[in-house]
């Protein structure tokens, strides 16, 4: 029956959108870990979303109740998309070779949960920085910004900025690790 097909299809689509929107950050992060170039990563994330929608039937056919299954499934698709992107346009100098992408993808897939926990810890750790430090580290990570452009705007030497930034990132990283150990301990 046609009418029924339509509403099933719509329900199907709604399920997909709900899953995708809940997990898009995790998928994006996975792709980013394979492709240092942000624009490349954006392309691959888009390709992945579309491919997931095309193949969603095969996922729903086998899905379990566990929502993380969706992320895993999507990340496997993303891994192929990243590799095929590499084959198509891998002339850019900052692109990992295929074997590195494979190795990173395998590690990243096994650590998806940890990425989420790290992400949750970031806010708390940022709050521990001073206003100026927080501003600096966030401004460098704002869309369209780079250390070079920030250095130019603030009149600071790029090298000095890199040094400050390096210290801040290291201390954030340390804070996140501490936070995660704490969570583990508290279980």
């Amino acid at each position: 029956m046609k009418a029924n097909d339509g509403s099933d299809r719509e329900q199907h689509y709604n399920d997909f959108v709900a899953l995708l929107s809940r997990h898009d950050q995790a998928i994006r992060r996975f792709v980013r870990s394979l492709l240092p170039n942000r624009d490349a990563a954006d392309d691959v994330v888009q390709e992945t979303a579309l491919e997931c929608w095309r193949k969603f039937d095969s996922f729903t056919g086998t899905q379990t109740e566990d929502e993380n299954e969706f992320v895993r499934w999507a990340c496997v698709i993303a891994r192929y998309k990243a590799l095929s992107w590499l084959r198509d346009q891998g002339r850019d100098k900052l692109v990992f070779r295929e074997s590195v992408i494979e190795a990173l993808a395998t590690s990243a897939l096994s650590q998806l949960d940890q990425r989420e926990a790290e992400r949750r810890a970031v806010d708390g750790c940022l709050a521990k920085l001073s206003d100026a430090q927080r501003k600096l580290v966030l401004s460098v990570h704002s869309p369209g910004q780079s250390v070079a452009s920030i250095a130019k705007e603030t009149g600071q030497q790029a090298r000095r900025l890199y040094y400050q930034l390096d210290t801040l990132r290291t201390s954030l990283q340390r804070c996140i690790e501490k936070q995660l150990q704490k969570e583990l301990r508290h279980g």
């Binding site: 992400r119 940022l126 966030l138 070079a148 279980g187």
Partner: protein, 550 residues
Amino acid sequence: MDNQLRKWIYQTIDQTIEQGDFDALQDRLETDEEARAEYLKAVNLSESLHEIASTPEPVGTTVTPAASFMRWPGIFAARSLMIAASTLILVSGIAYWIGHQQSNLTPIVADSTASGSEDESLIAGHATLRRAFDVRWGQGHQRAKVGDVLGHGPLRLESGLAEIDFFCGATLIVEGPAELDIESDWSVRVDQGRLRATVPPAARGFRIKTADSEVIDLGTEFTMDVSEEQARVEVVDGEIMLRGGDHDGLHLLTGERRTLMGAPSSESIEGLATSSDLLKRDEAATFERFRSWRETNQAKQNDERLIAHYSLSTHLNGRTLSDATSNPSQDGLLLGPAQVVEGRFGEHSQGVNFDRPGARIRTRIDGQFEAFTFACWVKIDDLQQRYNALFMGDGYENGEPHWQIRDDGRLMFSVMVDDSREIEFYNKRDQRVVKDAGLHRVYMTEPFWDISKSGQWFHLVSVYDPSAKQVRQYINGQLVSEVEIEQELLVKDLRIGPAEIGNWGQPFRETPWFAVRNLDGTLDELSIYNAALTGNEIETLYESGKPVGY
């Protein structure tokens, strides 16, 4: 991480690395698992910072799924030609999905942890459900339990009786079938139903809208009967004013009545329950529920799979809570400020409240078990601590369980796998490195509690099932989480030993400091089984033990 590696990693993220260094980094990433882990952590941090930097300042609300979804339509729109066949569905789907998100009428809790010192929770809502009898809620509408905060929006009772307290002070007793639309603390629209409104001086001005009229209360009590064909109002005591419709501006006093819509009728509105009727009925129903629970409880205690059963209402003698499986060595002792209070069947029953850090019940359960099911009835007043204990093995040794609730409302269950794999961490207070628990995994549900649920009873169950390699968790009889236990985290030799209800005994072995984990709430029954109970059994536990109005 060595400096060289870190430098390369961040130069790669910043896209400033030299080709030679990049090749060297790739070599390390290819061969060195730790280098990969470092790289992934750094990318993830950078990505998180990127997300935070590109999100506008939070405005005191939690991020809704709709907000994160807004990133996607652009992608699909740009590529719509490629998926032409699905375009129509995509567009209508998105509209439907967003609409669906917004029509969620349950109270919203906003956690304004934005920068700044104002750290205040907000709840959106206008009333609470005080009592409910035999209520069947309309399909697709708000379904409320006693104690729920009722938000803005329609409320539909197919049948039954509900007593609703508006925050302004007015109380409404509604008889189903009824259709209401809660508009604010001060106003409600009634499309169908019989009701009684009691309005104290503080709530004068409370209004009920029906058809094209408004009834504005000027003190005490009135009744209404609204159907599709007719709407009538009668003042039981005091004064009301009518606005709009044929009677605009009319005041009615005690005993007076009017038909606001439909064929005029001079009959009185009779048979509507009063608040004291409901109170009596509540007491009777609560006692009946208590009695029937006690009967099923008797049978439950003969279950051979039961390791221990702590039931405050039936087994508390002074400060000793005897284990209902009649194993005296497993008796619990109420310690410190653990306070005996009313349980989930009101005055007929008892619970114990642990709202101060010293409060706890201590017990000891020896033996070796093959599976665990932990089940309890608990009323949470607040999740004050980062972790709020339900039942904890002392310390945290191999095979011992930890059962608690995290401050974001997630139920957590874990069993220590290998405590010899110690993690060292620096304890700031002691200014030294102390050792802590090793390999284990915490199984968490999605959040089930927020401050709008304060004071409500919950039936919580966590099942550790080694033979099915699963951890299943249930809230109010419903499965909410099912996670596979990975092989390296599987524990078959389960133990408890000295343990604590409502708090955590001897958390860290090498320091006098202890984490504050007392449960800010009341526990009234706790059962522990040496078995993985089935979903049906758990639903039965919930159904046979739930309070009136649930």
